[in-house]
């Protein structure tokens, strides 16, 4: 019996949590979280764009760093996209609830 909690709790603690720890507090904090993450993704894209421009112009930048920045921005964008898809899907499900 003691082994089971020790198995589950490290995995929960180790998982990165995109959801805020106090989600049921209200929709305002989720909206803020969503807007701030969109801004972060945009900032990463801008940073990747600047890095690519530096590379094209022959600046003092490592090609591996530029490619990593581009890929990170890519993945962040796709993650955002997936979150947006799930939100839209959830909204459509809620809409389909027949009263």
């Amino acid at each position: 019996m003691n082994a089971i909690p020790s198995l589950t709790s490290p995995s929960i603690a180790a998982m990165p949590s995109p959801a805020p720890p106090d989600a049921p507090r209200g929709s305002a904090s989720f909206k803020d979280f969503l807007l701030s993450s969109i801004e972060e993704v945009n900032a990463m894209q801008q940073a990747a764009d600047r890095a690519v421009e530096q590379l094209a112009v022959g600046g003092d930048v490592n090609p591996a760093e530029v490619l990593t920045a581009v890929q990170k921005a890519d993945i962040a964008f796709r993650m955002m996209m997936q979150i947006r898809n799930k939100i839209v899907q959830a909204y459509q499900e809620v809409q389909n609830i027949r009263i």
């Binding site: 590379l55 022959g58 090609p63 591996a64 490619l67 990593t68 581009v70 890929q71």
Partner: protein, 139 residues
């Protein structure tokens, strides 16, 4: 963007010059006259290499040929009074002055140059491979 390529290329160019000089020494191993046709035995040429900070940068430097020096060691004398190039007067009358070039040394140097050339080519291959593999970050 890829300074390692420039560094290895500078080494290739420098070693090609060395190879040319070694070939020149071997070709002129029995030359008793200089370009003007005067009686002056060929003096062995020697290539001096120098670190070149202008190639590469950030702690890594390339190589360049500092100069092609003319060796001033005395020639090798061979007794041959019937040779028209023999010295006519002086204490070495009847001797012909030949260049002081040892073929074994030159051949060994040529082998060393060939290995160095290969090594730098290998470094270029690896540098190219690094750059190609970097593209896999995006794939």
């Amino acid at each position: 963007m890829f300074p390692s390529l420039d560094i290895s290329t500078s080494a290739l160019v420098a070693h090609r010059v060395r190879m040319n000089v070694i070939s020149q020494n071997l070709a002129n191993a029995s030359t008793t006259r200089n370009e003007a046709g005067e009686l002056a035995p060929y003096q062995k040429r020697h290539v001096a290499l120098q670190t070149d900070e202008s190639v590469g940068g950030r702690g890594a430097a390339g190589v360049r040929v500092a100069e092609v020096e003319i060796d001033d060691s005395p020639p090798r004398y061979k007794w041959d009074p019937t040779n028209p190039d023999a010295i006519q007067q002086g204490p070495r009358q009847g001797y012909v002055a030949y260049p002081n070039i040892d073929m074994i040394t030159e051949f060994t140097d040529a082998l060393a140059v060939a290995r160095a050339y290969e090594a730098n080519l290998g470094a270029i291959e690896i540098a190219k491979d690094l750059a190609q593999q970097t593209l896999r970050i995006l794939a």
